[in-house]
C-alpha cells in the first residue's frame, strides 16, 4: 500500500528543531493532543553523546526531544514491553526497534494494534564513547564542545561551539573514518535493513530535494495512514506528493547502503577465514570469558523469556564446560529470531563479539528457513518450540 510524501511540521519551532521536517515530532504531538495515543516514547538529548528514552504523555516533552541522535545506540523494544505494553503508544522506530517490537508481538508481549511505529530510516548509530574519541582524534575538537552532529551525503558533520558562542562545522567522510576503525557500530555497518518497512510509516531524509527542510515519508500500513491523517487534519503537518526522482533516489541510496553493509559483513567476519580447529578455538576463546551477568539476555529485543528461561534454568555454574549451557542455549534459541542489532555486544562486560557469533549461526539458519525476523507479524518464528507454545495457547 506504499504511498510517498514529503512532509513537515507546520509549527516552525518543531520544524527547526526536527532532524528534517520535524514531521515525526509533529505527528506524535498531534496524536497525543487528540487522544489518538496515551503516550509517546521518544529519546531525550542530554548531549550529542547521550540520549535517554522518555515515555511521556506531555506534548511539550515530545517537542523537546525532536532531532536525531546518532550517538544513542538504544533499542526501544524492551521499554515498550516493560512500560507501555498495555497503552496506546506512538514512537520513532529505527529498523531494529521496529523488528524487535514485531518479534515481541509474535510472542504475545505487546499488542501491535496499540502501537504506532513511526519508522526512521537508519544508516547506523555510533557508540557514544567512540564518537568522543573520534571528535578528539580526527576532528581535533574538544569532545565537550560538540553541540550538534549530523550524517548526510556519506559524511559525519560535527558542529562545535567555540569560545564566544561561535559555531564551527567540520566533516569527514564516513568511509575514511570507518577504514580507521571509527564511525558506526559494527552491527550497524553490517545491517542491511535500512528502511523500516515493518513499521507503520518510514521517515527519512533520503529522497528529499537538497536544501529543503522536509521529511520523506512512506506510508506502509493503515495505521500509518490513520496517524498521518490525524496529524494533517489537526493542522500539525503539511504534506505534498514525493517527486518520482526523490523516490528513485531513495531506492538507489538504500540499495547502495545494503551493498556496503554486505561487504562490511564479509570483511568483519574474521571466523570465515579460519580453519576448522581455528573456528572452534575462536568460539571457545571468546565464550569462556562469559561471567554470566545475564545482561545480553536482559537487553535482547527479541527475547521474551523471563527469569525461568531455558538458558538460565539449564545452566548450572557448577558445570565445568568452557562454553556454558547459557551461551549454547542462547545461540540456538536465537537462531531463527536474532535481528543482529548488537545490543548484547554493547553491554557485554567482557567484550564477547556476540553480534558476529550470533550472526554466524542465525543467518545461515534464517536463510535455510526462509525467515527474516521482525518483518512480518503474520510469519511465525519457525523453531518448533515456539510453535508448540503457540498451539498450546491456541487451545
Amino acid at each position: 500500500m506504499s504511498k510517498y510524501y514529503l512532509a513537515w511540521a507546520k509549527d516552525e519551532e518543531i520544524r527547526k528543531k526536527g532532524a528534517n521536517g520535524g514531521f515525526v515530532t509533529a505527528t506524535l504531538v498531534s496524536a497525543l493532543e487528540n487522544n489518538f495515543i496515551d503516550a509517546a516514547l521518544v529519546v531525550a538529548k542530554k548531549s550529542v553523546y547521550e540520549g535517554i528514552p522518555v515515555l511521556t504523555s506531555d506534548p511539550e516533552v515530545v517537542k523537546e526531544c525532536a532531532g536525531s541522535l546518532h550517538g544513542a545506540p538504544i533499542n526501544l523494544t524492551k521499554y515498550v514491553v516493560d512500560y507501555a505494553a498495555k497503552k496506546r503508544i506512538g514512537l520513532p522506530t529505527k529498523p531494529c526497534d521496529a523488528r524487535g517490537i514485531i518479534e515481541q508481538a509474535k510472542r504475545r508481549q505487546v499488542n501491535l494494534d496499540n502501537i504506532f511505529m513511526i519508522g526512521l530510516n537508519c544508516g547506523g548509530t555510533l557508540h557514544p564513547l567512540r564518537m568522543r574519541e573520534m571528535a578528539a582524534d580526527f576532528y581535533e575538537l574538544d569532545p565537550d564542545s560538540v553541540v550538534k552532529e549530523e550524517i548526510k551525503e556519506g559524511k559525519i558533520f560535527l558542529v562545535s561551539e567555540e569560545e564566544g558562542g561561535e559555531e564551527k562545522e567540520k566533516w569527514i567522510k564516513i568511509d575514511e573514518l570507518e577504514q580507521k576503525g571509527y564511525g558506526r557500530r559494527d552491527a550497524c555497518k553490517s545491517c542491511v535493513t535500512k528502511i523500516p518497512t515493518s513499521a507503520d510509516l518510514a521517515c527519512g531524509n533520503w529522497g528529499v530535494p537538497q536544501g529543503e527542510k522536509k521529511t520523506f515519508v512512506e506510508v506502509l500500513t493503515e495505521k500509518g495512514e490513520a496517524i498521518l491523517k490525524n496529524a494533517i487534519d489537526s493542522g500539525y503537518v503539511d504534506i505534498e506528493e514525493a517527486p518520482g526522482k526523490g523516490i528513485e533516489m531513495r531506492k538507489k541510496i538504500e540499495a547502495g547502503m545494503q551493498k556496503l553493509a554486505t561487504s562490511w559483513k564479509e570483511r568483519m567476519d574474521e571466523v570465515s577465514t579460519l580453519s576448522r580447529s581455528g573456528r572452534f578455538e575462536f568460539y571457545v576463546d571468546a565464550l569462556k570469558n562469559c561471567i554470566h551477568c545475564g545482561a545480553c539476555k536482559e537487553v535482547c529485543p527479541v527475547c521474551a523469556c523471563e527469569a525461568d528461561s531455558k538458558c538460565l534454568d539449564m545452566n548450572d555454574e557448577r558445570d565445568s564446560y568452557a562454553i556454558s549451557m547459557y551461551n549454547m542455549l542462547r545461540i540456538f534459541h536465537l537462531m531463527d529470531s536474532c535481528i543482529h542489532c548488537g545490543q548484547c555486544e554493547d553491554v557485554c562486560p567482557v567484550d564477547i563479539p556476540l553480534t558476529l557469533i550470533q550472526r554466524r549461526f542465525s543467518e545461515r539458519m534464517q536463510r535455510h528457513l526462509g525467515y527474516i525476523p521482525g518483518m512480518d507479524v503474520k510469519e511465525k518464528p519457525p523453531l518448533y518450540e515456539t510453535e508448540l507454545r503457540w498451539s498450546a495457547e491456541a487451545e
Binding site: P53, L55, A84, N289, I291, G294, S320, P349
Partner: protein, 520 residues
C-alpha cells in the same frame, strides 16, 4: 500523566564505580526499579557485572525506619536523641565506622566533622591499620589507584593473586585489551585462572608465598595488579610493597568499596597521617569487645554483611551502650540498634565520588538529606558549602567523568624485607590439610550469597568419594558450612569460594580448613 523517570547513577558494588541508569516507573501506587546500561559512561561504557545488572534487588531491600529503642519516631526526634546520647559519652569511648560503598565525598566530610564535633578520633573507613604498617611515602599506593587506560597501555601485567573476572569483573576487559595491544600477562596465584587470561602462571603454594621473593626479576617493568581489603594480612601488603619498592614496577590496588579513594583523600588521611592515629574496623571491634569503646555510629555500613560469622559480631555489639545506625536499608544489626536513622537510598543522593581510577563522578540524585542529617548534629553547614569544600580539597574547578582528576605520582620508598608467616597447625594424623581461598567480589561484601558452591580439585573429589549432586562440609574448628561443589583444575589441597561463609580467613583471604562429604 504517564511517567518513566530515568536517573543516571553509579553502581556501589566496588571501587570501579560503573555508571548506569536507574529507571523508576510509577503508575498509580506501583513503583518499580530497573537497571539500564549507560553507554556514555566513561568508566564502563554501559557494561556492568552481575552485581550491577542485578542492582535492582539491592535497592529492593527492606527500608530502615527512624526509631529510638525500637519505637518508631520522626526523623528529627531520632536525630535529636542521637545527638544528645553521643554528647553524653566520653570522646575516646566513641567510634564511627563507614565502609564507603554508598557514601559520597560530601557525606565523608560531614561524617568526619560529625565525629570531631563529639571529640572522637576513632573514625574508620576500613583500612586505617595499613597506613600504620607501611612507610609514609608508600601511602599513596593505598590512597590512589590508576586509570584503566594505564592498564590497557601496560606492556607487562602481573595479576597478583587476583582473578579479574571474579574480583573486579570490569577490569577483565581492560586486561584483555592490554593483551590485544601486545601486553604479556602473568599471574602469580595459588591456582591457574580457569579462563586462561594469563600467558604464564607462576603457581605459589600457600606455605611457600615467601618464595615469590626469589623471583623479583619477574616483576621488573610490570604493572602489578592486586587487591586491598580490610581482611588483608599486613604481611601480604608488605610483600606487595616490597616487590614494588625493589623493582621497576608499579602497583595498582583495587578496593571493594566504591568511594574508598574519596574516603582516603577527604577523610583526613592525606599521606596516611591521620589514619595512622586512628583505630581501624577490627581494632574498633576489639575495643568494643574489651569494653574501651561504648558507643558506635554506623554510617551505611552493613557490618554483618561484610564480615564472617555474625554470631560473634552480635556478641561484640551487645557490649555497646549505644549503637546508632544511619542507613537506607535494614541490616541484621538494625534490630539491636538503639537509634536508627533512615537515610535516602544511594541512587537518590546528590553528590560526588572518586572511583579507583581517580575520576570524580557525580551521582544523579537530588537528595541532600544524608548530609543534612549529619550536619544537623555537627557543624550545620549546607550541602553547597560541603560540596564546595570537596571541590577545594580535591582541587577541582569543574567535575567531569572524562577527566582523571585525582592523579598519582609514583614515588620511591624503602621497604624492609617482609617475612610471611602462615598459621601453624598441629598435624593430626589421618586428617587431610586443605586451604580455603576466598575470591572476594561485589556480592561478597554486600552480604549476598550469589553462589552456593565451592570449587575443589578432582583429586579432592576422588578422595572424599563425592558424586555429582553431593554436598561438602567445610570445617574450621567449631564453624561448619555446607556447600555444593564444582570441579576445577586446582592444586589438590586448594578450595576456592566466591561466597562468604562463616569460616574466618585467618591469613588474609586464605585459611586452613578441613573438608568432608556432607552427611557423613
Amino acid at each position: 500523566m504517564v511517567e518513566m523517570k530515568i536517573k543516571s547513577s553509579i553502581c556501589p558494588g566496588c571501587s570501579v564505580g560503573c555508571g548506569l541508569y536507574l529507571l523508576e516507573s510509577e503508575e498509580g501506587e506501583e513503583r518499580e526499579i530497573k537497571i539500564l546500561h549507560r553507554k556514555n559512561s566513561a568508566v564502563n561504557e554501559g557494561k556492568l557485572c552481575k552485581f550491577g545488572t542485578d542492582l535492582h534487588t539491592y535497592y529492593e531491600r527492606e527500608v530502615l525506619n527512624n526509631s529510638v529503642e525500637g519505637e518508631e519516631v520522626k526523623q528529627e526526634e531520632a536525630i535529636r536523641e542521637a545527638k544528645e546520647r553521643l554528647g553524653s559519652i566520653k570522646p575516646d569511648e566513641l567510634a564511627f565506622i563507614a565502609l564507603p560503598s554508598t557514601i559520597t565525598n560530601e557525606e565523608i566530610l560531614s561524617f568526619v566533622s560529625l565525629a570531631s564535633e563529639f571529640g572522637c578520633e576513632n573514625v574508620s573507613f576500613g583500612f586505617e591499620r595499613f597506613f600504620r604498617e607501611i612507610p609514609e611515602e608508600a601511602s599513596y599506593i593505598i590512597e590512589k589507584g590508576l586509570s584503566f587506560s594505564e592498564v590497557e597501555k601496560a606492556t607487562k601485567i602481573i595479576l597478583f593473586f587476583l582473578d579479574p573476572f571474579v574480583h573486579y569483573p570490569l577490569l577483565a576487559r581492560r586486561i584483555l585489551k592490554a593483551k590485544k595491544n601486545g601486553a604479556r600477562v602473568i599471574e602469580v596465584s595459588f591456582a591457574k585462572n580457569e579462563r586462561g587470561i594469563a600467558d604464564e602462571t607462576v603457581l605459589v603454594e600457600p606455605k611457600g608465598i615467601e618464595r615469590i621473593k626469589e623471583k623479583k626479576e619477574l616483576f621488573e617493568d610490570s604493572l602489578i595488579i592486586g587487591e586491598l581489603t580490610p581482611y588483608m594480612n599486613s604481611q601480604f601488603l608488605e610483600l606487595m610493597l616490597w616487590i614494588n619498592a625493589s623493582t621497576t614496577s608499579r602497583l595498582f590496588l583495587l578496593k571493594p568499596f566504591l568511594n574508598s579513594t574519596g574516603a582516603f583523600l577527604l577523610g583526613g588521611n592525606r599521606n596516611g597521617k591521620e589514619a595512622r592515629k586512628r583505630k581501624d574496623l577490627f581494632e574498633i571491634l576489639g575495643g568494643i569487645e574489651g569494653g574501651e569503646i561504648k558507643a558506635l555510629y554506623l554510617l551505611e555500613t552493613d557490618l554483618a554483611g561484610a564480615m564472617h560469622g555474625s554470631e560473634e559480631l552480635f556478641e561484640t555489639i551487645s557490649k555497646l551502650d549505644l549503637l546508632i545506625e544511619q542507613n537506607a536499608f535494614r541490616t541484621p544489626l538494625s534490630d539491636v540498634a538503639n537509634i536508627t536513622i533512615c537515610s535516602e537510598p544511594f541512587f537518590m543522593k546528590k553528590g560526588t565520588l572518586v572511583n579507583i581510577e581517580g575520576r570524580v563522578i557525580e551521582n544523579g540524585g537530588e537528595s541532600e538529606n544524608n548530609v543534612q542529617i549529619m550536619e544537623s548534629m555537627g557543624k550545620g553547614r549546607s550541602y553547597e558549602e560541603v560540596h564546595e569544600e570537596v571541590k577545594r580539597r580535591l582541587g577541582l574547578a569543574e567535575i567531569s567523568e572524562f577527566e582523571i582528576a585525582v592523579k598519582r605520582e609514583e614515588k620511591s620508598f624503602e621497604m624492609a624485607e617482609p617475612k610471611i608467616e602462615i598459621e601453624e597447625r598441629k598435624e593430626e594424623e589421618g586428617k587431610e590439610e586443605y586451604f580455603l581461598w576466598y575470591k572476594t567480589n561485589p556480592f561478597f561484601w554486600n552480604g549476598i550469597r550469589a553462589k552456593n558452591f565451592v570449587e575443589i580439585s578432582p583429586a579432592a573429589m576422588r578422595k572424599l568419594g563425592l558424586f555429582r549432586g553431593d554436598e561438602v562440609e567445610i570445617v574450621q574448628g567449631e564453624r561448619k558450612e555446607r556447600m555444593g561443589f564444582k570441579i576445577s583444575e586446582l592444586p589438590d589441597y586448594l578450595i576456592l569460594s566466591e561466597a562468604k561463609m562463616s569460616i574466618k580467613p585467618l591469613q588474609g583471604s586464605l585459611t586452613r580448613v578441613e573438608i568432608r562429604r556432607a552427611g557423613e
